[in-house]
């Protein structure tokens, strides 16, 4: 994603951007209306071009409003996606999901690189308190909220108390998930540095591991409550233990290999990252390891056991400038707008209450940890976003509990849709207000690289 610190752009620039945006929508609109029957082999490529261009331009046009670039990317996907203008159809959106593999690998790598041991040590107390409180209180409170609101939730209102309790527990587990991608996206755009940025990144990356463990526990406990005749099984934890330890081991190896490559060769990093994003992710899935944790560990190792962290981060950001746009635009196109229309009221209520509980918990944790004022005031803002991890959790729950899974997942999607749109705005607002935006890079970069010398 691009930097934040650029000079104010003039009206002419905005006019050109708006014109280009109109042309990109116009071309896609004309194509889909004039040739509805044509099944182009390049449909996915066209969609990538459109989403990258429209996302980039919308994010630029949103800048004067103070909105994050992510909102522009998401909106490009929502408007051009299958539920509104239908410029990109369902099939193409599914195809584009493969690109997400690369994006998630980059996000995890970048997240790991950003985690310096020295920095983590400085905020260790904050992270410990926040992890304990944000996990336990949000889990229990949101489970309680689900129980209270269950009469208004179509699939929950007729459940008996045991299964209702189980579903509420799962909702609590879902509510604890955050969005590493949104966090990285905003930090990358704003190039924020400071206590709030450090805390948010550290907490969200660590909570990713916590959530995986907690989800396994929640499913283990919920299964006998929801599905009659089943008992608590600790097999899930056995598998999980292997997955976590295996991922960390693999990530360490990968990180060391990357550090050696960066030191000895260092070139063609974009291609290396692509190979890692697609190839290593496929290999990790094949051996049932977690790609997110593996890449995060790899990034962490490169940063803390070598001097190659900045080089890796630069390469990830360079590639991310296109991949992240596509990732979030695809996420926008995937948003089930009709479903959101149906379930918006209950989903909104859930989201508002989650945000309130997150805020209160953050204040409590920060006070006990003795956090700086900006973290006490704004520490909650980065924790509102939910995205891929939450949706993935919805799929896991749908698979584990076929009876209620589909409807549960629908509610998850609606809630994620709201949090995905509001969360990044809140986080960027917080970083701006905390004065941490643009601290990472003082000078705006030029529009184009300097010309190569011609001999």
């Amino acid at each position: 994603m691009s930097g934040h610190g650029s000079a104010q752009k003039g009206l002419a620039t905005r006019a050109v951007q708006a014109l280009a945006l109109a042309v990109s929508f116009g071309v896609m609109f004309a194509l889909t209306r004039l040739t509805p029957e044509v099944d182009s082999r390049l449909g996915t490529m066209t969609a990538i071009g459109f989403l990258v261009l429209a996302g980039t331009l919308l994010s630029e046009l949103f800048e004067p409003l103070g909105l994050p670039h992510l909102s522009g990317y998401l909106l490009a996907g929502i408007v051009g996606g299958p539920h509104l203008l239908h410029l990109v159809d369902h099939h193409t959106v599914k195809q584009l999901a493969q690109v997400n593999t690369l994006a998630l690998a980059l996000i995890a790598l970048a997240g790991g690189v950003e985690l310096k041991v020295s920095t983590l040590r400085s905020v260790a107390k904050s992270l410990t308190y926040a992890s304990i409180f944000q996990t336990s209180i949000v889990l229990v409170s949101m489970a309680g909220v689900f129980l209270v609101l269950s009469p208004f939730i179509p699939f929950a209102k007729n459940l008996e108390w045991r299964p209702l309790f189980g579903v509420a527990l799962l909702w609590g587990a879902f509510s604890v998930t955050r969005s590493p991608s949104a966090c990285m996206g905003i930090l990358s755009q704003t190039r924020a540095k400071g206590p709030l940025a450090t805390f948010s990144l550290g907490f969200i990356m660590l909570s990713d591991v916590v959530v995986v463990v907690m989800l396994a526990a929640a499913i283990m406990l919920a299964r006998p409550l929801i599905t009659a005749g089943t008992a608590i099984s600790i097999d899930d934890f056995n598998v999980l233990g292997h997955e976590i330890l295996g991922s960390i081991s693999m990530g360490t190896t990968l990180g060391l290999a990357l550090a050696i490559y960066l030191r000895l060769v260092g070139g063609q990093l974009l291609l290396v990252l692509m190979a890692l994003g697609f190839g290593v992710t496929a290999a990790l899935k094949y051996v049932h390891l977690d790609p997110l944790l593996t890449f995060m560990t790899a990034g962490f190792v490169v940063q803390n056991l070598s001097s190659q962290g900045p080089k890796l981060l630069h390469a990830v950001e360079q590639m991310g400038s296109v991949v992240f746009v596509l990732f979030f635009a695809t996420a926008g196109a995937e948003l089930d707008v009709p479903l959101l229309k149906e379930a918006w009221s209950i989903a909104l209520a859930m989201c508002v209450l989650r945000a309130v509980i997150t805020y209160l918990t953050s204040r409590l944790g920060s006070r006990l940890a003795g956090d700086p004022a900006v973290v006490r005031k704004w520490g909650w803002a980065g924790l509102v976003s939910q995205a891929g991890l939450a949706l993935g959790l919805g799929i896991v729950i749908e698979g584990a509990f076929p009876g209620i899974g589909t409807q549960f997942r629908s509610l998850v999607i609606a809630a994620v849709a709201i949090n995905e749109m509001i969360g990044p705005v809140l986080f960027k607002l917080a970083l701006d207000r905390a004065g941490e935006s643009d601290k990472g890079e003082a000078v705006a970069r030029p529009s184009l690289p300097p010309p190569a010398p011609v001999h």
Binding site: S6, K9, L42, G49, V52, F278, L448, P451
Partner: protein, 415 residues
Amino acid sequence: MSDGIWLLLGLLLLAYLGSNLVGGRAIRGFGLASGSEYLVLGFVLGPHVLNIVGRSLAHTFEPVVLVGTGWLALVVGVGYVRVAERWISPGRAVAGVALGLLSCAAVTATVYFAAPQVTNFQGFARLAIALGMGACASATTRHSVRWVVERHGARGPLADFAADAARASALVPPLALAVLFALAPGGALPSVPIIARIGVTLAFGAGLGLIAALLLGRDFRRDESWGVLLGTGLLTVGAADRAGLSLLAAMFAMGLTLAASRHRLEIKAMLTPTEKPVLLPVVVLAGAYVNLKLPTVVFMLVVGAIVAKILIRVLLGSALAWGPARGTGPDFGLSMIASGGFSIAAALAFSTRVPGIASDAVLLFAVVSTILGELLGPAALRRSLARAGELHAVDTHEIGRPSDAPELTGRESHG
């Protein structure tokens, strides 16, 4: 892991090799002039020999290949008008375009009139296969000229003429395909006249190129420049394909428009390093696409086209020996026979509108033509330059590098 992932990793490996070759090591160390070893590699990996890259697997990557061909056209378009720090001379450019057009016309006419005699190609299929082969026969690869010039330290009017003419001839394949696609029945613009369809193809590419140039000219940040270039490029390729227009022509027009912008050097600096990483996987997959299970008459047609190409080039070379290629004789014509990635790209782009045997025949022609050009072209150019007294005129490290050749690394530039 799926075969697709393995193939993707293989292509990324090729792209990795390609990006290393881009620094100039291929010129000074290893690698053939037109890169036909990668065609052979693809063929060996393909269904006819090892079958590691089977037909269906190779076709899974067809969209990537087509985007690659479009991207190559964009890179060629952006670097079209300049060699090193100088503009290509208008006179030489006209000669280069004429060379390409006459070669295209000769091969097209040969195949067009021979087709009914030996095959059952009729109507549009007959015209398509003829013009398709003509398009692939028209361009001389600039890499081959550069390879010889840089290896042998050549400098002088003939070396400049060869470089300019090769570069200028790249205009013909996109134009020929623009015409061919406009002539094809169906498509998104069935009621639009043919001339207008050609115009729409070029205007569409130029229009999106203009938008990209305007956006890049504003104070966009560096990272976003890639979003703009990639976004407009993919949109152009995809939209042209869906509308039944030539994606190669549209992307070439886009490249020309970008080349006319005031930021052309910066844009070229961004795009040039991507050429080889894109070219190598495209060429390898093209090798894998080669289909030899064709009727014998199709092979006869391909042989006829090859003979026509050689003859017209020798004739043109002899004619040029009275002018800019004085004293070189037919050798200069043979030296301009070298074709490469761009002709392969034209053959692959052809398949988007005319699939089936015609497309297999055109690809086979492009591949055989490239390999033959590899055998004849560089040696003939070296002889021509020797006769003109331009060989070893300067130290190889003092050779002016074309403007679309990336900077040498310190190690390379010193030896």
